[in-house]
Structures are given as C-alpha cells and as structure tokens.
Subunit: 145 residues, 4 copies
C-alpha cells in the first residue's frame, strides 16, 4: 500500500506589499490564498485539472483549518509545501506548511483542507477515479517525506 | 441623438477591514475593484452579459485611468456611480465617480475605462450590435444627469 | 454568569464581481475576509479597538476553521453573523455564520476562530482586562440568541 | 544633468491561482497590485521608506493609468519593471512594464503613476529632499536603459 503525506509539491511566492493589512503584517487570508496556489500546482501535477476538462470531474473544497504561528512582513519570500494525507472513496484531505526565507525553518502557518470529488455534470459527489488515485500515489512517492 | 454620460447606475458597498493596507487606509486597488463591480451591474442592466452568453460577444477592458482625491477608512460605506460616456463602432468609454458616506458629496476618486466589444469565438473585436447600443442609450436616458 | 454565543453582531455585504474566481463562484478566501469584517465590527462594538489604541492591548488571530456548504454567485448580498463563544483567561473563541439573500435561511458557510489577547508593548499574551470582558458579556446579552 | 527612465528595478512574481477571475484570466486589478509591489521595492532601494520612518515624509499616490495588451493565465511568472520618469518639486512620475514568461518579450501591460511627496506630520505636500532626489538619480544611473 502506498504512503501518503510525503510533501511532494512546493512553490515559492514573494510577499507583495499589498498583502499587508493595517497591522503591517501579511493579512491572514493571504496565507490561505498561498495554500490554494500550492493546491492548484498539486492538481496540475496529478492531472486532476485534466480530469475536470475531459470528464467534468473536479475537486470541491468542503472545509479548511489553519493555525498561525508567526507574522510575515514585506519584503520576504514564502514557500508553501503541500501533500495529500488521506484518499477516501469520494473525498480527500490535504495538508499545508508555510515557511519564510527570513524566519528560517519553523513554519509560519500550517493548514489542512478536506475536499470532495465532484461530478459537475451530475451535480453530485462521485468516487475518485482509480487513474487519479494512482497518479496521486505516484506523486506522493516522489516526495521528500 | 441620444445623450450619454447621465450616470444611470450606482451601487453601495461597505468598506471591509481587509481593504485597508499598511498605511491604514483603503488600498488603491480596491477603488478599482469597486469600479469593476459597478461596471458589471451596468452590463447586467443593459444585458451585455446576456449577449456574452447567447452569442459569445462581450466586453474587454483595454485601459483605465484613476485619480485619487481623498483616503477612505474603515468603517465607511462608499457609492460608485457609473455611466457610458462614448459609444464607438466597436469600442466604448465609461466613467466612474466614488463618494463616501463619511466624506460627503465630494468624490474620493474618479476614473475612466476604455473597453472593446469582443467576439470570443472569432477572437477579434466586432462592431457593437445595434440592440445593445439601443439598450445602453435607453439606460442612460433614465439617468439622473 | 453571563451567557455567550448569542450572535449580537451582523453585517450585510454585497458580493463584488471580483470576488468570483475561475470557477465562477465566490473564492473561498472571500468568505474569510467577510468573517474578518464582522469580527472588526464586533471589536469596535465592544471597544477592543479602543483598548489597542489606549493601552496597546489587542487581539491576535491564532487559528481558524471554516466549513463551506453552498457556493455564492454574483450578484448577491451576504450577511455575516458573529458571536463570542468562549472567554478564557487570555484567549477567546468566536463563531461565524454566513447567509445569502438568494439562498435563504440556510448558511452558505460557518466558521470559528481562536484569538489571543496580546500586549503589543510587552510582546506577549496578557489576561483579558475585566472591563473588556464585561463589555463583551453586555454585548452578547443584547443578542438575538 | 541626470537621466531618468532607465528602468533600474524589477521583480518576478508567480501568478497565483486566486489571481484569476470568472473570465479565467488574471483580474485587471492584480496587474496594479504587481506594479505597487515593484514601486515599494523601488522605494526601499532609494530609501524613501527610511525617510518616512525617520522624518514622516513619504509618497502618496495621486493617479494612475494602465493599458492592457494581453491576458495572463495560471500558471505563469510575470516580471514588473519600474522606473522614475520625472522628478518635480514635490511630485514625481513612475512608469511600469509587465512581461510574462510564457508570452515572451512583449509587454502584457504598461502603466504610469503620479505621486506626491507628503509630510505626514504637517498634513501637506512638501518639496522632495535633495538627498532622496540624489539617491533616485543614482539608482536610475544603474539602470539597464
């Protein structure tokens, strides 16, 4: 059986000045936007995006949870790491970990999301196709975990 | 001949806390987002949105110009007023004026955009259909100008 | 002993066109921005904002959890309801419930945040002043709960 | 006399998925946020930010103009180039040019802003200090122009 949670995908994003809010640190919603960008890179890497185009089957976000551990300022560059931690029948969980160039190894925020595999034509959830499941497992196997 | 520039459409939008930037006033890009929202209400009112759905002919933004005259804080409620000021063959101009509940009658920002009528299937600009032109002229005739 | 969780504060916010993402519904981070706006209205109502200005003691967001139950489109108007559900020694929890004019009574999203009372001069958490605690309890007592 | 308009500062920013709007390309306000980030890097490079902290003299945005020439998609990486094109007594102009990794050398958008040197304590515009003027001229002299 394949192992999940091996953090195969990450991306670097420079902080933008407009990410700051009136408290002079990056607004807490921006961390969640960064996680979303990493998620989409993951979906491209496992071709979930291709499945949406060809068969109308795509992911829907059901919920998220974020813990903030350190503020981020401008200028800085953050890295978002992401991994799939659970593959259910028609649902899945992903985890996120954000680090910053100036703050070093400790994470500035961590998060999890739960997603559902959705058939947009039928308008209901659907089992995750085996081909996608297999590509996710292969992608995780390349992780640094 | 019909008159344009009569400001038929406006919408009220409360300032959100997250609209503030590190200088503790509403970030300058937010004013442009407010203008966009008013523009879309205008496009719904003249059924430019319907034309896009039925015939694949819709607006494209070519350029914009904004002048800022006063900062906006939280909490406050702004009103965006908009009007079509020019109807060309396959292009058009719109103007915007933003006022705020706490600042009174003077505008906090004004702007203009130039747009192009675009045939998304053909991938090129196209003359504005007479039916749309007529609806815009009727909408402007209802203005408070 | 005072009761919490009585939902005393709410605010209405019209959806902006730019809130939509490439899936043509309001991006999931926007819901969290709406919750933040309601939170700041709550902090103004209980004068947490005044405490920050006068004594340098203010709230810090430690974590959040959001569940999404229905997509939101443009145009629409949402209402964010918020309440304090727990007052600890130097921490507190708040809950959020978002409804939409077009979707009716059911919530489109719910959320919770955990916050910490922070002394910005000392750089550490601090017990919640009794005066603030009392104002929150009075505010909750006015709720519709 | 020193030459301006030599494009000394640029920064690379990856497109985020959330930058896309319902038309499936990067929303037009995001281009303006990118320009703002480049502007702030310029202000750090010429220490306009230091002047704000030490003497309360900083920039205020008076107006902007943007022309859009090509849509940007996700994923892609853009580069914003910026330069000061005019130094007045208490005002200045800057120009921006955005290119994209996938679109090649042609710009996807260009823009200009006009700014004012503002004394935040006095609440009025103020002549640009010679020291700042000199640093801007030196910075421009390093440009690739």
């Amino acid at each position: 059986m394949s192992e999940l949670g091996r953090w195969p995908i990450s991306c670097e994003i420079p902080v933008q000045w407009g990410d700051l809010d009136a408290l002079n640190h990056v607004n807490h919603t921006v961390f969640i936007r960064w996680m979303e960008t990493a998620r989409m890179h993951y979906f491209i890497a496992c071709d979930f995006t291709g499945l949406l185009e060809s068969e109308g089957i795509g992911p829907i976000l059901a919920g998220l949870k974020v813990d903030y551990s350190a503020p981020v300022q401008f200028p800085d560059t953050i890295t978002v790491h992401t991994t799939v931690t659970r593959l259910g029948n028609s649902s899945f969980d992903m985890a996120y970990r954000i680090t910053s160039a100036t703050k070093g190894d400790g994470s500035v925020a961590t998060g999890t999301v739960s997603g559902v595999v959705f058939d947009y034509d039928a308008g209901s959830s659907t089992p995750m196709p085996d081909s996608l499941r297999s590509r996710i497992e292969k992608l995780e196997a390349t992780g640094s975990g």
